[in-house]
């Protein structure tokens, strides 16, 4: 190391959504692939050839495009276990018995935190004891060769599911193994999967992945992203998710990614949840396609089920799962990401996981063609208000970020324009407070510094006041806690 380099410590590159140049990417890549012995198995050209040999619909972006064209609602479960045998068996069961359209490979949390050595230990112990000791599939330890066996075990495409601020090596291995999509991105994972890491750092780490996807695209291999925005696991307005999703999508698109499945989360009030899917779709298209000009971006909306606490009772969980399916179909969602009916119990057995898919499939089947059947003023008002709110947040944040979505993200969170309750990260202010109104719709109790338009906020406040009046008690912190547990107890509101 030269004296010059030593004396001038490599300044953190400025926060920008600008496309990485090749030098930066290659330098970073060498470092990433050296992170664990299996990094050496990665060979981009060979991987691209592998992807091309697979059937067209074994690719996630193509499968999603096909679903959207044919009006086929896709269904994807969660799932990942420790051993290669166990995980292969799991994805095969989900594909064959559960008829999953896309199968998951959920990664364990040691891997998410780069603890490859401890993951290795737990993996060996699992193999010895015939037990699955990790909470997911340690893909880096299994390496390209292991992960390929997973991909080749099924005819359907595989999506890597990994909540982390350091996704680089896992994505390298996954894509090289033939997996063709990954859950993302920097905002969600900073907020919920780390405590100290800043947005700028996570953005850079994920930009690496997005650029890698860009590389694959240049080689003719589409790789998809499932964009989380800033969903959270307690009641919250889907507008916050939508605004953050636009920023994540823009950051990814700048590096060359083009296939985006954007989340919209079930909160429980049907009208609001239908509006959520519609409003998020319209805003993402408005900003990504029209304002920022990514005319070739493929955008689908997936309906995630309730992401908070579930009942331990499997039968009751079927109720949630199917209710979610109805709301998703009515909203015109393109895909379901399906928590299993054992969500409240623990890592699901493969049978319960497949059963969940069958129940959803039944609902989706029965409702095919009924999308437009129901609407109403309440939905329309909600859509309009949600869009107005997302625009207000995005425009304020982009303003602060001088039009750069990466900078807008960092500064937006600093300023509290973007915020979320109950985040793990200390970089979220957590000033936003949310409660349900009498019909269970999610409303701002306190918007913190989020620039919610006055008319929207007035409606939210009025809704909450009606609930307070009806039950004769103010909405307070205990209400927030009650609203976190309510779905797992069998209702949205019970005053």
């Amino acid at each position: 190391m030269s004296a010059a380099t030593r004396s001038r410590p490599a300044a953190a590159p400025p926060v920008t959504a600008g496309r990485w140049d090749d030098a930066r990417f290659e330098a970073e890549r060498a470092r990433v692939l050296a992170g664990w012995r299996t990094g050496a198995e990665v060979d981009l050209a060979e991987a691209a050839a592998l992807h091309k040999r697979r059937p067209a619909l074994a690719n996630v972006p193509r499968k999603r495009a096909w679903g959207r064209e044919t009006g086929t609602v896709l269904i994807q479960p969660y799932g990942g276990v420790t051993t290669l045998a166990g995980h292969t068996e799991l994805v095969r069961h989900l594909a064959e018995v559960g008829e999953a359209d896309i199968v998951p490979t959920t990664v364990d949390s040691q891997t998410r935190n780069l603890k490859y050595a401890s993951a290795e230990e737990a993996l060996r112990a699992s193999e010895r004891q015939g037990k699955e000791l990790l909470n997911g599939f340690p893909i880096v330890n299994h390496g390209v060769r292991g992960a390929r066996q997973v991909v080749e075990a099924v005819e359907v495409p595989v999506e890597l599911r990994i909540g982390t601020v350091v996704p680089q090596l896992a994505c390298e291995i996954a894509f090289a193994a033939g997996m063709s999509s990954v859950t993302a991105g920097p905002i969600y994972y900073t907020a919920h999967y780390s405590r100290d890491t800043g947005f700028a750092e996570t953005i850079a780490n994920w930009q690496y992945v997005f650029r890698l996807i860009g590389r694959y695209a240049e080689l003719g291999v589409p790789i998809g992203l499932q964009i989380h925005g800033i969903g959270t696991s307690t009641p919250f307005p889907n507008t916050l998710l939508g605004a953050a999703a636009v920023l994540e999508t823009l950051i990814a698109a700048a590096q060359g990614a083009r296939s985006f499945a954007v989340d919209a989360r079930l909160m429980g009030n049907l009208a609001q949840d239908i509006a959520g899917v519609r409003a998020i779709r319209e805003i993402v298209e408005e900003y990504v396609v029209r304002r920022f000009g990514y005319a070739d971006a493929a955008i689908t909306i997936d309906r995630k089920s309730w992401g908070g606490k579930y009942p331990e009772d499997t039968a009751r969980a079927f109720g949630i799962v199917c209710y979610n399916a109805v709301s998703g179909v009515l909203a015109g969602a393109d895909e379901f990401i399906a928590n299993s009916v054992q969500e409240g119990v623990g890592i699901p057995l493969k049978e319960a996981n497949a059963d969940t898919l069958k129940a959803i499939r039944q609902v989706v089947g029965v409702m095919r063609g009924q999308r437009a059947a129901l609407a109403g003023e309440e939905v329309e008002t909600e859509v309009e208000h949600m869009k107005a709110e997302m625009r207000a947040i995005l425009d304020a944040a982009l303003d602060l970020g001088q039009g750069d979505p990466a900078l807008a993200t960092v500064r937006g969170f600093q300023a509290g324009l973007l915020d979320i309750p109950f985040a793990a990260s200390r970089h979220c202010r957590g000033e936003v407070m949310v409660a349900r109104d009498a019909a269970g719709a999610v409303r701002y109790l306190d918007p913190g510094r989020v620039p919610v338009p006055a008319a929207v906020l007035a409606r939210h406040r009025a809704c909450l006041e009606r609930r307070a009046a009806a039950r004769g008690r103010p909405i307070d912190y205990q209400t927030i806690v009650d609203d976190i547990f309510s779905i797992s107890r069998g209702f949205l509101v019970r005053d």
Partner: protein
């Protein structure tokens, strides 16, 4: 890290989610309930290491550690915590754990034994525990210790 409340409090508790775990909602609700019941809370948040728990406990002369774990990795991250406390000279601190301590849900009594007798924790709680239960237990445990300490002090006078 939030500052501990004045010593007039019923006791001081260090809270956190251990190891590689980010499930923070439960412990936040726990913290809120602890504070409302008059305890001082020192909050480490998610992804807290054993070292952070021990250091915070020493620094604030805490009565108890409330260790949360949901993601199924408690058995990877909890063993050794009691030992680390002993080594640091706070071997008799109360250690409670809660959340979802195992992958899936094996029979609870076995889990409880593994974490208490096996790892030296004082109390562990199954999923879905309402905050009042551990808070009642904590008040009782602290009172018992203070009585014992008082008796010991008197005896030595």
């Amino acid at each position: 890290m939030s500052t501990p409340a004045p010593s007039a409090s019923k006791g001081t508790v260090v809270t956190g989610v251990i190891g590689d775990d980010v499930h923070v909602i439960g412990i936040r609700i726990m913290e809120y309930a602890l504070r409302r019941s008059g305890f001082a809370v020192v909050s480490l948040g998610p992804l807290a290491s054993q070292k952070e728990f021990v250091e915070a406990a020493i620094e604030t002369a805490a009565d108890a550690l409330f260790v949360s774990s949901l993601n199924g990795h408690a058995e990877l991250h909890l063993p050794g915590l009691r030992g680390a406390c002993v080594e640091a000279g706070i071997g008799d601190i109360l250690i409670y754990a809660g959340g979802q301590l195992t992958i899936r849900q094996p029979e609870w009594s076995g889990v409880e034994r593994r974490f208490t007798q096996g790892m030296g924790l004082d109390r562990v709680y199954p999923p879905g525990t309402s905050p009042d239960v551990p808070i009642r237990d904590l008040a009782a445990d602290i009172a018992a210790r203070r009585r014992r300490a008082g008796a010991a002090a008197e005896a030595s006078e």
